[in-house]
């Protein structure tokens, strides 16, 4: 009997027919565009045609999107990883490890030794869909990406955990002019690193490695990168696309179905429609008409005017470039809305040429640019000024609704919302790295289903039952869509559902509104995504009130920039002339900066007039700017202090201490403690990306915070150095500073030593001391640690341990006292010199430059004095909070917020650093915000992860400083 295996993947449909000898005698592969039943029926009909007269066949279904379908058709279902395993065992019995990448999943199967099968977690990218998404972003096909990557000269670090993160890494690279060859290669490298780190989890990939699935079959370079990373040549066998289907066919238990009958059954299949749905966007045609009447779109152009004076605004956004020319009456004379396609320079070049051609006698009085590409455009075309996006949008919104009190802009990659209070930007919400990319998500999705974004969004307008996809990050939405497809949702309902999700994401993830009234009375919506009626309608439905969408909703940033240019016109505009524009050329080169340990990948853009623009830098150093102002950066001071506790050797042997998490604060304590006892101490070096990669393969939970993940690299480093013991104790409790109700450490800080002990296999040859210790009980501590030390090192007198403990506590308190004194000194200097102060709030380990990505330097580059939460927390008396204040480090956050709120000094502001995945901060951020806002202070939060893109951070900081300035001006005006 012939057996058919049908593999219904997330994006493609694959099937094979095998004969009695288990030989593949037929195979077929195609994209299903989520029309699973229809395409399956077609595919089976083709088989029926290829094997005339076949009646009874064995049929099994497998694949991530096939489960529900198989159930409803009453056809046996085989789990797809299991199918792969069965096929591999049969066809390639020598195989040790299978690496299979699919549309939305990545798997590693260890076949020999202890059998293990690993699949990517719910939050993991690094798959075929991820590569497709990145290719779309680069405006090339995955195959072209493969070709381009062959010529790469450099690898950039790109986070591949999810598409959204990677995007925010790639976009700035593109804007800075990095080569597509290098980016393509970097994307492959990221996928490889993600697969190995995320899935292997400490188990080594060795022996015969087999590559399966679409991406690894079609992309030779991806295989290359895997080979390089594994230092081992893997093979991609014949039928590498079909292993799931082959396995499904092989697993047929002998039961048979009638093929023609089954095809008929599948053809007549109508889904149960079991998906969760929202109410339709429009009940009827009339509602839609009324809506269209309220929201007119389209730009009406005016004349340039007698005097030919014009002002130019350019908004170089993440996926689109918007340009506007206005006249003396602030009317639009000319505008452009263009796709970015990776590099904004040629686009703006074309735009300017068009202006000069269209208006030969134009008199450009002033020009301004904004957006992600602000710097490069400003440099390339000598634009007069750059402004932060939030200010640009506010300037434009005021023009359409002078009493605007809330602006929400959903662009290609980001959501920006801000409240306006008393004419100033009062509160800014930018989407965090995890939920960004909303507009471009719609676009990618439309592209994947074969539509343009406009067509796709319009499909949803009359959907009867929009799919309820929730309000989570886009990766989750992907699988929600998969589920909906499985349950038979139509394209129309999915389209409407996605529009609703974008809106819910903005409202509940970014702004986190509890009710519509809290948004404001005069809401202006803008940004390209709101040009889609479905999104706008979903927004109005969700908040229950009508909003203003300016007819130029997509151009607001550029229009605002033009208005700003007009209001702040220089005496003479320096913008590039028509003549010079004709000979304009632009050359890009990538180099590595050696200015500091960050080793930024820089892109050097040289323009034909010899001017240069450097991108990718995290600080001002490579720009060699003459920044004579002295920097007051308490992070630097703290680093110096910690560095003064140098490593040394001594008679009792060397203790290795991994420098991460709470060690950033307790290092002076342990350093002194062991020194007093006659031990040598060796600390691991400052974190780097390389150090992280060194330990990446033993991280068991891919959603734990980055600071914790770094610990694996630190421990690996110490092992390489060959220390006598590694000391990293478990600490449920921290020291009690009297600020809160309790003095816990967070679970990760408290118990990460356990994770290291259980997962870093290389530790088995070295003493690893990770006992539970209680520094909070100073009196009992010496006895307890004494027992631990004697167990590991033999006899040590208790009196010595007691003395060492005393010295260690003294040193710890001295360290903290010096830090606090310095903080106060900086505060005083700031007051005397009238400098703004930022209290950068986080945890001790945010000091690590690999964790903070140089945000401290960025703040100081803005001209502010930087101090830390632990340098002011002692100035505050214990006070009531609305949450349980039970963690020592977090009590300091509340205290620092209280200090700022009570100071009444508008020049002292707070920025809170939050590590992605920090569950505790879900509690603290709300409380810190609450403390600040109760005294009308601005709260700024920055979420950080492995990503190194500081673009969004810059926007936040610039907006903060702009808002502070505005508040100060208003205060003066009122007085």
């Amino acid at each position: 009997m012939l057996r058919i295996g049908l593999d219904v993947g997330s994006t493609t449909l694959k099937c094979v027919v095998i004969n009695e000898n288990d030989e593949v005698i037929y195979k077929k592969y195609e994209r299903h565009f989520s029309q699973i039943a229809e395409k399956s029926a077609n595919m089976l009909s083709e088989i029926s045609a290829a094997f005339p007269g076949v009646g009874e066949v064995g049929l099994s279904i497998s694949g991530s999107a096939g489960m529900g379908f198989a159930e409803e058709m009453d056809i046996p279902f085989v789990q797809e990883v299991y199918a792969t395993r069965v096929a591999a065992k049969r066809l390639l019995p020598e195989t040790d490890v299978v690496i299979e990448l699919g549309g939305e999943d990545a798997k590693i199967l260890f076949l020999t030794g202890a059998l293990e099968v690993r699949m990517n977690g719910t939050c993991a990218g690094g798959t075929g869909a991820f590569i497709d998404q990145m290719a779309t972003l680069l405006d090339i096909t995955p195959e072209e990406m493969n070709e381009l990557s062959k010529q790469h000269t450099k690898i950039y670090s790109i986070a591949s955990r999810c598409g959204v993160f990677a995007k925010s890494d790639i976009q700035p690279l593109l804007n800075q002019g990095a080569q597509k060859t290098d980016i393509s290669a970097s994307i492959f490298a990221a996928v490889v690193s993600q697969t190995i780190a995320g899935l292997a989890q400490g188990r080594e990939i060795q022996g015969n490695v087999v590559y399966l699935g679409g991406p690894l079959t079609f992309l030779s370079q991806l295989r290359e990168f895997f080979d390089n990373a594994l230092q081992h040549k893997g093979t991609c066998p014949e039928n590498s696309l079909y292993y799931v289907s082959i396995g499904a066919a092989l697993l047929n238990d002998g039961s048979a179905v009638n093929l023609p009958e089954t095809i008929e059954r599948i053809k007549n299949y109508t889904s149960s429609g079991g998906f969760r749905s929202c109410r339709p966007l429009f009940e009827n045609e009339d509602e839609y008409k009324a809506f269209k009447e309220r929201h007119k779109t389209g730009v009406s152009y005016s004349e340039l005017g007698e005097n030919k004076r014009a002002y130019i605004g350019i908004d170089a956004g993440s996926t689109t470039v918007k340009c506007v020319v206005i006249n003396e009456n602030e009317e639009i004379v000319f505008s452009k809305y263009l796709q970015n396609s990776g590099n904004p320079v040629p686009i703006v070049h074309g735009f300017l040429r068009e202006i000069y051609e269209k208006f030969p006698d134009i008199n450009i009085v002033s020009s301004a640019c904004t957006g992600y590409g602000e710097e490069i455009i400003k440099n390339a075309f000598h634009i007069d000024m750059g402004i932060v996006e939030t200010i640009a949008h506010f300037s434009a919104a005021k023009k359409y609704n002078p009493s605007v009190d809330f602006i929400i802009d959903i662009g290609g990659q980001d959501i920006k919302c801000f409240k306006i209070r008393m004419g100033a930007i009062d509160n800014i919400f930018l989407n965090e790295a995890c939920s960004s990319g909303c507009g471009s998500f719609l676009q990618t999705f439309a592209g994947a289903l074969g539509y343009s974004i406009e067509e796709f969004a319009d499909l949803g307008i009359f959907a009867d039952r929009p799919v309820d996809l929730g309000s989570r990050c886009t990766v989750f939405m992907n699988s929600s869509v998969k589920q909906a497809q499985k349950e038979g949702a139509s394209i129309e309902n999915i389209s409407a559902g996605l529009s609703i999700s974008v809106v819910k994401n903005a409202l509940y993830k970014v702004i986190r509104v509890a009710n519509a009234e809290s948004l404001g009375k005069n809401i202006v919506v803008q940004g390209g995504t709101f040009l889609n009626d479905a999104v706008l309608r979903a927004f109005e439905q969700e908040i229950g009130t009508a909003v203003t969408r300016p007819p130029i909703a997509g151009l607001m940033g550029a229009y605002g920039a033009a208005l700003y240019a007009k209001q702040n016109a220089p005496s003479k505009s320096g913008i590039i002339s028509a003549e010079r524009l004709r000979s304009f050329k632009h050359h890009v080169e990538a180099i590595t900066c050696n200015g500091c340990q960050n080793r930024c990948r820089l892109t050097v853009n040289t323009f034909d007039d010899g001017s240069k623009f450097i991108g990718g830098n995290r600080c001002e150093k490579p720009l060699a700017l003459k920044n004579s102002a002295k920097k007051y950066n308490l992070f630097d001071y703290k680093k110096e202090l910690l560095a003064s506790y140098t490593s040394f050797k001594d008679k009792r042997g060397t203790i290795g201490i991994p420098m991460g998490l709470n060690m950033f604060e307790l290092y002076p304590f342990w350093h002194t403690f062991f020194k007093e006892l006659g031990f040598g101490v060796l600390r691991s070096p400052e974190s780097t990306r390389r150090l992280y990669l060194k330990g990446q393969h033993t991280i068991p939970s891919d959603t734990v915070c980055y600071p914790a993940k770094l610990m694996h690299g630190h421990v690996e480093h110490l092992l390489e150095e060959g220390v006598d013991a590694i000391f990293y104790p478990c600490l449920s409790y921290n020291l009690d500073e009297g600020l809160g109700d309790n003095h816990f450490n967070c679970p990760v800080v408290a118990y990460y030593p356990e994770v290291i002990g259980a997962n870093v296999t290389a530790l088995k040859n070295t003493k690893y001391i990770y006992d539970y210790l209680g520094l909070h009980r100073k009196r009992d501590f010496p006895k307890k640690i004494h027992a631990v030390l004697e167990r590991e090192f033999g006899k040590i007198p208790l009196s010595e341990v007691k003395r060492a403990t005393r010295a260690a506590f003294e040193e710890y308190y001295r360290f903290m006292a010096r830090l606090r004194a310095k903080g106060k000194e900086y505060l005083k200097i700031a007051q005397e010199e009238g400098l703004p102060v930022i209290v950068l709030c986080g945890r001790p380990y945010h000091l690590d430059p690999e964790i903070n990505h140089g945000i401290d330097k960025l703040i100081c580059d803005c001209g502010a004095v930087l101090i830390t939460e632990d340098s002011v927390s002692d100035l505050v008396e214990p006070f009531p909070t609305t949450v349980l204040n039970q963690w020592t480090y977090h009590s300091r956050l509340y205290a620092a917020a209280k200090f700022i709120a009570d100071s009444g000094d508008p020049d002292i502001n707070l920025v809170q650093l939050v590590s992605f995945g920090c569950g505790v901060d879900a509690i603290t951020t709300d409380e810190v915000r609450h403390i600040l806002e109760s005294k009308n202070r601005i709260y700024t939060q920055i979420k950080i992860d492995e990503i190194t893109n500081l673009g969004a951070v810059k926007i936040r900081l610039r907006s903060l400083f702009a808002a502070v300035e505005q508040q100060k001006r208003d205060r003066v005006d009122r007085q």
Binding site: T122, D253, K509, S701, C730, P747, H776, W887
Partner: protein, 426 residues
């Protein structure tokens, strides 16, 4: 210190005139437990609403990065209060608070915030804790109440244990569930009258319970045995784990879920462990040990009843669990489910349930350590372990979770068919 000036205390007067609502978690246990409070004169109701509005309310009023259980329990309470079924001016809500280093200790404050933001700030919130975190004159956890509550949990543990062991094999479909429902009603009735708490009654009823399950006609066929461990809420609550037990039943598995008593004793033991690890009052330690000894008698009754009859697997004592944990993780690890979770995995494997689902809310902090963090080590100690961690949150889809579980089950079935002659489980 907590800002208590706005806190609405649950007063003695309220005890007479207010209805108290509490979210469901472990269905069998909470149905019985509920009656203990009724017996103490409270007008109290367990919520069973599980519709979409629960999640919607949660998403709307709770920080979306907070753990899923907070979102669900708060959502359940808000959705009930808004349903119009209750007079919001005469209703209080109740929630547990462990006081550990996990963020779960903050649920109660998140609930208050959510109530305030949805215009129901007048609703008193009662914290159920034994750590002395918040006090209410109208609601006190006394030792007799605690003892009765623990007796209720013991009944719950026994019924859950036996129902799980019989149901997959019963000849007449539904018989075990009927038996369980009958016992829940019976015990509840007794509890409401203040009975079934005494040592004599407990011993006798436990015996009858075990016998009643043993009397159900079964056909023992080889089945895939799956254990469930994890964060306490998603481990038990069907609302939190997308009806996990139901799904496993549909996949023809026998399921074992370790009982709630273990968690209660684990919390108590941690106070003793703290003193041993870091120092502290010996008197306090002695008192705690006495209390533990007193309360673990219920565990003893349960184990003895099951073992005396002889057809079923009895759970391990919490003190034995602690010993199972020690080769894996330090017993100072006490946030979330702490050392108990790896201990339960090993217990399950040793009881023949080598296929284990470790369920946790997405981003659960303690589970990075005690769940996902320990799997590797457990595998090295028990090479036959087949463990799959599953994350739950409002965005994670059922299809994704079930796919992962199906993978685990495929491996389990392959092994089972190798072990059984029939080989009918391919």
């Amino acid at each position: 210190m907590i800002d208590n000036k706005d806190r609405i205390e649950f007063t003695r007067e309220m005890k007479r005139s207010y209805k108290i609502l509490f979210p469901n978690m472990a269905d069998i246990h909470f149905r019985i437990l509920h009656k203990v409070f009724i017996n103490y004169g409270y007008d109290i109701e367990m919520l069973t609403n599980t519709d979409q509005r629960v999640i919607d309310e949660g998403l709307k009023y709770v920080h979306n990065d907070t753990c899923y259980p907070a979102l669900l329990t708060i959502g359940q309470l808000l959705s009930a209060l808004k349903s119009g079924k209750y007079d919001v001016n005469r209703t209080a809500v109740m929630m547990t608070q462990t006081g550990g280093g996990c963020r779960a200790s903050n649920y109660i404050h998140l609930l208050r915030k959510a109530l305030k933001n949805s215009g129901m700030g007048q609703v008193p919130v009662i914290s159920v804790n034994v750590a002395g975190l918040e006090k209410n004159s109208g609601f006190k956890i006394t030792l007799p109440l605690l003892r009765r509550a623990i007796a209720a949990l013991a009944y719950g543990d026994l019924l859950m244990l036996l129902n799980n062991q019989v149901k997959p094999y019963e000849l007449r479909k539904g018989e075990s569930d009927e038996n369980t429902a009958r016992w829940i009603d019976f015990v509840s009735d007794k509890f409401a009258q203040g009975r079934a708490y005494s040592q004599r009654e407990i011993k006798s009823y436990f015996k009858s319970i075990v016998e009643s399950y043993a009397a159900i006609e079964v056909k023992r066929t080889p089945k895939v045995k799956v254990g469930i461990v994890g964060e306490i809420y998603v481990k038990y609550a069907a609302l939190g784990n997308n009806n996990l037990e139901e799904f496993l039943a549909s996949e023809d598995c026998e399921v074992m879920v370790p009982g709630l008593l273990g968690f209660v004793f684990y919390c108590l033991i941690n106070n003793i462990n703290d003193i041993e690890l870091y120092g502290g009052s010996r008197i306090k330690r002695a008192v705690l040990r006495l209390l533990l000894k007193y309360l673990t008698r219920f565990e003893t009754y349960l184990i003895e009843a099951v073992e005396a009859e002889g057809s079923f697997i009895a759970p391990s004592r919490v003190t034995e669990l602690m010993k199972l944990a020690e080769p894996v993780i330090g017993i100072g690890c006490k946030m979330g489910e702490g050392w108990l979770l790896p201990a339960e995995i090993i217990e399950l494997i040793d009881h023949g349930f080598e296929n284990v689902i470790c369920a946790q809310p997405f981003g659960c902090l303690p589970n990075h350590i005690v769940g996902k963090g320990m799997i590797r080590k457990i595998r090295s100690l028990r090479p036959n372990a087949n463990i799959v961690p599953i994350d739950y949150d409002p965005g994670a889809t059922k299809v994704n979770q079930e796919n992962r579980i199906k993978l685990m089950l495929s491996v389990a079935r392959e092994k089972l068919s190798k072990e059984t002659i029939s080989g009918a489980f391919c």
